[in-house]
């Protein structure tokens, strides 16, 4: 069961890196209280139909989980920069198992981020039926697939030095245009937003509060991004390792 053992060490490593842990969980949490706290009595934020505590809980869940799964790429870049990936490639660990461990770690971090924000939301009076919580969590995890692939792509394309800014910039743009910070109105911006996976990540969160989910457009956009980014990640991996 070498794959399980490897994944376990990978998790130990990630959760032991206190700075990473504090920042990736603490940052969305602090932002949430900073933004949603003062607006806790706004019941219909910018015509979105949802209250500020719900709106930002969902938005920051999208933002935080995006970062969580992208950070798997940062770990890949760090291992490449250290030359550790060459060492691992000489062991019987298959590339598939390697990525599985990285993705599992990213998803676990995402799950912890979601739970932390749910608890924070509850402290600001957000109350949702348990079945809805589950639906929404499930959809967020699905909506993260394109970002998982993006993390692996970045991890094989960038070095440990450059991946930080690249990830920061990417999540900032995707979050802004995806409607994490403010509702996207109608018009041109809305068309652009609907073409981004981050928009649908936010919509996934809305399921908990009576949102309509993805519909055909949502599924099409998320699947398309997932396919394109997976192909790109595969290309980057092969280019990096010289494998056929």
């Amino acid at each position: 069961m070498n794959v399980l053992a490897y994944t376990r060490y990978e998790l130990t490593r990630t959760f032991r890196n206190r700075r990473f842990f504090v920042f990736s969980l603490g940052f969305p949490l602090v932002l949430y209280y900073a933004i949603a706290g003062p607006n806790r009595n706004v019941h219909d934020l910018g015509g979105s139909g949802v209250s500020a505590p719900v709106y930002f809980m969902v938005g920051l869940a999208a933002f935080g989980t995006m970062n969580a799964v992208l950070s798997a790429g940062a770990r890949i870049a760090a291992e490449r920069t250290a030359g550790w990936n060459r060492q691992l490639r000489l062991t019987p660990l298959s590339p598939r198992a390697y990525f599985r461990a990285k993705v599992a770690t990213g998803y676990l971090m995402a799950l912890v981020t979601i739970l932390v924000l749910y608890v924070a939301g509850a402290t600001l009076g957000v109350s949702i039926p348990p079945g809805r919580w589950l639906d929404m969590t499930w959809m967020i995890l699905l909506g993260l697939v394109p970002f998982v692939a993006m993390g692996i792509l970045y991890g094989h394309l960038l070095t440990a030095d450059s991946i930080g800014p690249a990830m920061g910039g990417t999540t900032a743009v995707f979050a802004l245009l995806g409607g994490v910070w403010f509702p996207i109105g109608d018009g041109t911006l809305h068309y652009l937003a609907e073409a981004l996976p981050s928009y649908w990540l936010v919509q996934a969160g809305r399921i908990g509060v009576g949102g309509s989910g993805w519909g055909t457009t949502g599924w099409a956009v998320v699947v398309a991004w997932a396919l394109v980014l997976t192909a790109a990640a595969r290309w980057a991996y092969r280019r990096d390792t010289g494998r056929v």
């Binding site: 060490y9 060492q87 062991t91 019987p92």
Partner: protein
């Protein structure tokens, strides 16, 4: 056949594109290593040792040629856990203790050694509960050695393993290596220290400029490169006669000049001047490995194969 097959490198070639133009790192290299042999890959920096190792292990795709490990492709051998290595560059991943890191690697192999035993063997037992990011350069090197050993793989490859080690670490390293070699593993190590190759290998493959320039028992290689060379211009010299001179092991022509490899250059130069009074432009080359290699392989432009190409 497959059960006894060792390592076969056939016609391996790799050219890199660099800002300075194309560099032929490895040129049609053929090496065959038997199971259980301890072989040193000796050569100066830039000889193509690491490139050869990378191709042999499947980390780098050759332009031409093939590598097979125990009758399998490098990828298959790696997947079966038949290979472990201490590569030339590379640091450790952080946030694990030394014991955890060694145990992690052990968990990936089908039949690893006991972690504690390996920590003891490599002198890293006292570091076992330290985080990997807190280690010194020499300590890191020892842990990398532990990682290579714990696999207990059929083939152990070490690319310049002692480069970052202090004298004591180096001695401890080779003492351990002797024990491992006695266990019947196939070992290939790259080095640019003649003494290491001489002291620890059954066989030395001498590389320069991407080619094998000599392959044989250590004492034979030592006689070739551990000595001096005399270069002299002697028109119409008889190479066979020159090779017979006292102190000379071999004679080669390089255009107008001849090149004499000497075990005793003092005796050889006296004999040369007595036998060939017309010899002029005489140079006696130093004992450095680099020079020895250059003289053994000749200048690019005078390489007969390349002149013909």
């Amino acid at each position: 056949m497959a059960a006894t097959a060792g390592i076969e490198l056939e016609g391996l070639a790799k050219t890199f594109r660099t800002p300075q133009g194309l560099v032929e790192a490895v040129r049609d290299l053929d090496v065959s290593i038997g199971r259980g042999e301890t072989v040193a890959l000796l050569g100066p920096n830039g000889a193509g040792k690491s490139t050869t190792i990378d191709m042999m292990l499947g980390l780098l795709r050759p332009d031409r040629g093939s590598a097979s490990l125990f009758g399998r492709s490098p990828d298959e051998a790696v997947a079966a856990g038949a290979v472990s290595a201490m590569l030339q560059t590379g640091s450790l991943i952080r946030d694990l203790t030394v014991r955890e890191l060694v145990a992690m690697v052990a968990s990936l192999y089908p039949d690893p050694l006991a972690v504690d035993e390996v920590l003891e063997l490599t002198g890293t037992a006292r570091l076992a509960s330290q985080r990997t990011q807190k280690l010194s350069g020499g300590e890191t090197q020892r842990v990398r050695f532990a990682i290579a050993l714990v696999a207990d793989a059929e083939l152990l490859v070490l690319d310049e393993p002692t480069v970052a080690m202090d004298v004591e670490g180096r001695r401890a390293f080779w003492t351990t290596m002797r024990e491992v070699a006695a266990g019947g593993k196939t070992i290939l190590f790259a080095t640019h220290y003649l003494e290491e190759a001489d002291a620890y290998a059954d066989r030395v493959v001498l590389m320069a400029r991407g080619r094998v320039v000599a392959d044989g028992p250590p004492n034979q290689i030592k006689a070739m490169v551990g000595t001096r060379t005399i270069r002299a211009t002697i028109p119409a010299a008889d190479l066979d006669a020159l090779a017979q001179l006292p102190g000379v092991t071999s004679a080669e022509r390089r255009g107008e000049a001849v090149m004499l490899a000497c075990t005793d250059s003092d005796t050889a130069i006296r004999a040369l001047l007595a036998a060939q009074p017309s010899a002029h432009d005489i140079e006696i080359g130093g004992a450095g490995l680099e020079e020895a290699f250059v003289q053994l392989t000749g200048d690019e432009t005078r390489d007969p194969e390349e002149a013909a190409a």
